[in-house]
């Protein structure tokens, strides 16, 4: 079983995220980390591999320094990493990212492609479905538990209404939510071993991707302007002295909320 896991480097949780007012892109210069739910996808891939053997390949699109974050997943146990890095791919929107990642995935030829549900920076939770369409493979998203059985896969999808058990033949695309597992910490041995694993960085031309379709050139959405979010207006804060319940009631009545 060959499993590809799409992972993304995002600004570390401790970094104050900002959009560069000139390029109107997310400032990725600070400390990076692997996107949190992608760790769940890596963990799930490792568990499948441990159960039935196979190979876990990390696939990513991002700046060259993203390899540092991919190394953490190698340390967890993934076998190798393929990073597509190209100036011309910077500023890709959904379709561009889809085109680029799908090309990289076509080269990997995995039986199963795993995604994290959402990235902590883009937060669209949209990439898995777009890539599935482009690869012409069945999709199960928002998966809270997964079982691979022979040549089919069954996932429990969490929706607003409850759970849907969905089954699909391999090869398939799966997006996992962070409810699926607890990602392991890399062991010291894993960290040492990661250094010698194959870490390949390729450019668009290596994959035969048309540069016109990705990056800013291929983007069909634009950022026009940046502004401050609307403020909530006047705030009242009071310390409870025994009368807070009455004050809350008065407040909501005054605003005709009841």
């Amino acid at each position: 079983m060959k499993i590809a896991v799409c992972v993304k480097q995002v600004p570390d949780a401790t970094v104050h995220k900002r959009i560069d007012p000139v390029t109107k892109r997310l400032d990725r210069s600070g400390e990076g980390a692997l996107n949190p739910t992608d760790l769940n996808a890596v963990e799930e891939a490792l568990r499948i591999k441990e159960g039935q053997g196979g190979e876990v390949v990390l696939v990513s699109l991002g700046p060259e320094k993203a390899m540092e974050s991919l190394r953490k997943a190698l340390a967890m146990g993934a076998d190798r990493a393929l990073l597509l890095s190209d100036e011309a791919a910077a500023g890709s929107d959904l379709v561009g990212t889809t085109v680029a990642l799908a090309s990289a995935l076509e080269r990997v030829e995995a039986d199963l492609v795993l995604f994290g549900q959402a990235s902590s920076d883009g937060d669209g939770a949209v990439l898995s479905a777009a890539v599935a369409d482009r690869l012409r493979r069945p999709l199960i998203s928002q998966v809270a538990s997964l079982a691979v059985d022979g040549d089919s896969v069954t996932g429990k999808r969490q929706t607003e209404h409850g759970y849907d058990l969905i089954s699909a033949p391999l090869p398939a695309v799966i997006a996992v939510s962070d409810a699926i597992n607890e990602p392991r910490y890399p062991s010291l041995k894993g960290i040492m071993g990661a250094k010698s694993k194959l870490q390949e960085t390729v450019a668009l031309t290596d994959l035969g991707v048309d540069a016109e379709r990705v990056g800013e050139a291929g983007a069909q959405t634009t950022v026009l302007d940046l502004g401050a979010p609307p403020s909530r207006g006047d705030q009242v804060k009071i310390e409870d002295d025994g009368s807070a319940a009455q004050k809350i009631l008065d407040y909501v009545l005054e605003r005709r909320l009841l």
Binding site: V95, K237, K247
Partner: protein
């Protein structure tokens, strides 16, 4: 602007969120609704009341399970047939996958998490809070059709009382899009109004101290005619069902009143509830982040305040 609005339904009901998007689209131009799945025709007829002049329905059996990929086939065929320049979705687990699949299929730009849509000199502009809602971005499209996923609950459905001409259409399906199949569906039965529909939500976090303390919130919500919501921390702890989780990995809600009890106000929770009309927070820690974005903040103990408030509300009635 000629838009198609994906009207999601659950059982016999059109989702309120997608009807809100339809009303918005109708205020910006010509809007048509589209309902997919067996029974779609009858549901589509209801779109007229929310501003659609036209409603499309595809009753194909391949669309009976709530799975995204066959919907991408149906919608891409409809976009081609109608020449719509805009396709709008109210966010949900299903709609996000349909919108993203359609973007890939049509090679079209998709903006997500849109909280408002305006026409500016003939161009459509989306407002999109980003980076944990710390910045508000104006987004646009450079090609047609323009696709947008609207953040759940930001537009209220407006009943304008019109009627829609319903047109049935057929779709053919790609070989891969019917490979995924629904094996089983388990609904989570929540008692009382669901948090997406409720005008008032009383939400609880770890500050409640125990699952039993949720009964305090249920009583308050009952007295107020509202629903109970929860943070991820208490859902993960098994104190309350996932169907009530508000936030990044739960639901996005926008009631008129949100009462946050023992909730710290982490960014992942905030993104799911900050669209609420009025936010009242009760927390014993004066430095809790929730106090930065609530309207009325009470520094105090929920175990003392909530039962008293319930009693006061009941006495009024």
């Amino acid at each position: 602007m000629r838009s198609l609005v994906f009207l999601e339904h659950h059982g016999e009901e059109l989702e309120k969120g997608s009807l809100g998007v339809l009303s918005k689209a109708a205020s910006l131009g010509e809007a048509a609704g589209v309902v997919l799945g067996p029974g779609a025709g009858a549901l589509a007829a209801r779109a007229g009341a929310f501003g659609a002049a036209k409603a499309y329905a595809c009753e194909d059996e391949a669309l009976s399970a709530p799975l995204p990929q066959p919907r991408v086939d149906a919608l891409s065929a409809l976009v081609e047939k109608t020449g719509a320049d805009t396709v709008l979705f109210g966010a949900s687990v299903l709609a996000a996958d349909v919108a993203a699949g359609l973007a890939a299929r049509l090679d079209a730009g998709l903006n997500w998490d849109v909280t408002d849509l305006v026409l500016s000199g003939g161009d459509l502009v989306g407002k999109r809070p980003a980076l944990g809602d710390t910045v508000l971005v104006d987004v646009g499209w450079t090609s047609s059709p323009r696709l947008a996923l609207v953040r759940a609950g930001v537009f209220d459905p407006v009943e304008s009382g019109g009627s829609a001409e319903v047109e049935e259409f057929g779709a053919s399906f790609s070989d891969f899009s019917t490979l995924a199949t629904l094996v089983e569906q388990t609904q989570e039965e929540a008692s009382g109004p669901s948090i997406e529909e409720a005008d008032i939500i009383v939400a609880g976090g770890r500050g409640l101290g125990s699952p039993e303390a949720f009964s305090l919130l249920e009583e308050l919500a009952g007295a107020l005619g509202g629903a109970v919501g929860a943070t991820r921390a208490v859902v993960d702890a098994g104190w309350y069902p996932y169907s009530t989780q508000v936030g990044q990995t739960g639901k996005t809600v926008s009631p008129k009143l949100y009462v946050a009890c023992g909730i710290s106000g982490a960014i992942q929770h905030k993104v799911g509830m900050q669209g609420s009309g009025t936010i009242v927070a009760i927390n014993k820690d004066p430095n809790a982040p929730i106090f930065d974005f609530c309207d009325l903040g009470i520094v105090g103990d929920i175990h003392k305040i909530v039962p008293k408030l319930t009693e006061l509300v009941r006495n009024r009635q």
